[in-house]
Amino acid sequence: MNIVVSGTLKEYPEGLSVSRLIEAENIETPMYVSVSVNDEFVKSGELDSTVLRGGDVVEFLYFMGGGRR
């Protein structure tokens, strides 16, 4: 199936969960990334059980501090 990950079209096998996608995409700080699928945030407890479908649009949002010091 094809899904859009961070704006890029990618091919992944069917049945892929969000947590497997996080692994496959080598996401830094996987415990603390916010994931949205089709503009809806996936609750952190539901990353394993959320299965992606063809055409899904996935975005990763990272904590960024920085600035003052």
Binding site: S6, G7, T29, M31, Y32, S34, S36, D39, E40, F41, S44, E59, L61, Y62, F63, M64, G65, G66, G67, R68, R69
Partner: protein
């Protein structure tokens, strides 16, 4: 209020713009913006807002200028090392534009002072580095219904979003809670390219100017991310979460909590 010939010349490039004009420049002159953090993000924001003629600019930070700041905090200079950042910043801002009022607040935002700090301002710029500070500012601004700009920078990446409470999502809609101490890299451990603060802090100033003048559309309902290495800007749609702890239907957070002590030291949050 009528502009003098000197003011017309100073702000001529603004006044010429259809979206700003005379009315917009008046709104800027009557505007009040608070910048929390006089560092990598706050420095360019403060310089541009001073130059833009924002009537009152507050700048809050209890830190002193350190040699390691100068790689990116362009409002401070080498002779300023050891001085309070807010004093150093005020001097530069007043030198650019003697017509504005700069309120230097030599404090770190915390749960006791945050509501007082932001009251009386039209717009808040979060230029802090620590996650407790970012959540504190978010929660206080949502509770006080104060529009603000969130931003973060690390390595070659930056992010930005504008929150207008009750009109769109807040920072907590994206990230429900701060990460534990040291769970995610901070600028001090991971580094940050100096110009990143310039890019993102300038965008924060841009949002403040747009908010005050009503020009264009604010960055609400989206997070803008910038990757300098691939030179890509992306605008990621963000929806408000019904269950958001502070801006949702039944908020569990009804007053600001948590401190905002410096965190880049790697010490306790």
């Amino acid at each position: 209020m009528a502009f003098s010939n000197e003011q017309l010349e100073r702000y001529s490039r603004h006044i010429i713009l259809k979206e700003i004009g005379v009315k917009g420049q008046k709104r800027l002159s009557e505007g009040r913006v608070l910048i929390i953090g006089a560092g990598g993000l706050g420095a360019p924001a403060a310089l541009y807002l001073a130059a833009a003629g924002i009537g009152v600019i507050g700048i809050a930070d209890a830190d002193a200028v350190d040699l390691s700041n100068l790689q990116r905090q362009v409002i401070h200079s080498t002779p300023d090392i050891g001085r309070l950042k807010v004093e150093s910043a005020r001097e530069k801002m007043e030198a650019i534009n003697p017509e504005i009022t700069v309120k230097a607040e030599p404090v770190f935002a915390d749960s006791d002072n945050i509501l007082d700090l932001i009251s009386g301002y039209d717009f808040v710029i979060d230029g802090t580095d620590s996650f407790p500070a970012k959540f504190l500012i978010n929660d206080a601004c949502v509770i006080a219904k104060k529009p603000f700009s969130h931003a973060g920078i690390i390595r070659f990446r930056g992010q930005l979003m504008t929150c207008v409470p009750q009109e769109g999502p807040c920072y907590r809609c994206v990230f429900p809670a701060p990460p534990p101490p040291d769970a995610v890299p901070t600028c001090r451990q991971a580094g940050v390219i100096g110009a990143m603060g310039g890019v993102i802090g300038s965008l924060q100033a841009m949002e403040a100017v747009k908010f005050l003048t009503g020009a264009g559309q604010l960055l609400t309902g989206s997070m803008l991310t910038y990757d300098a290495l691939s030179m890509e800007f992306r605008k990621i749609r963000i929806k408000a979460r019904d269950g958001c702890e502070v801006c949702g239907k039944n908020p569990s957070i009804t007053k600001p909590a948590g401190g905002a002590a410096p965190v880049c030291e790697g010490i306790a949050l």
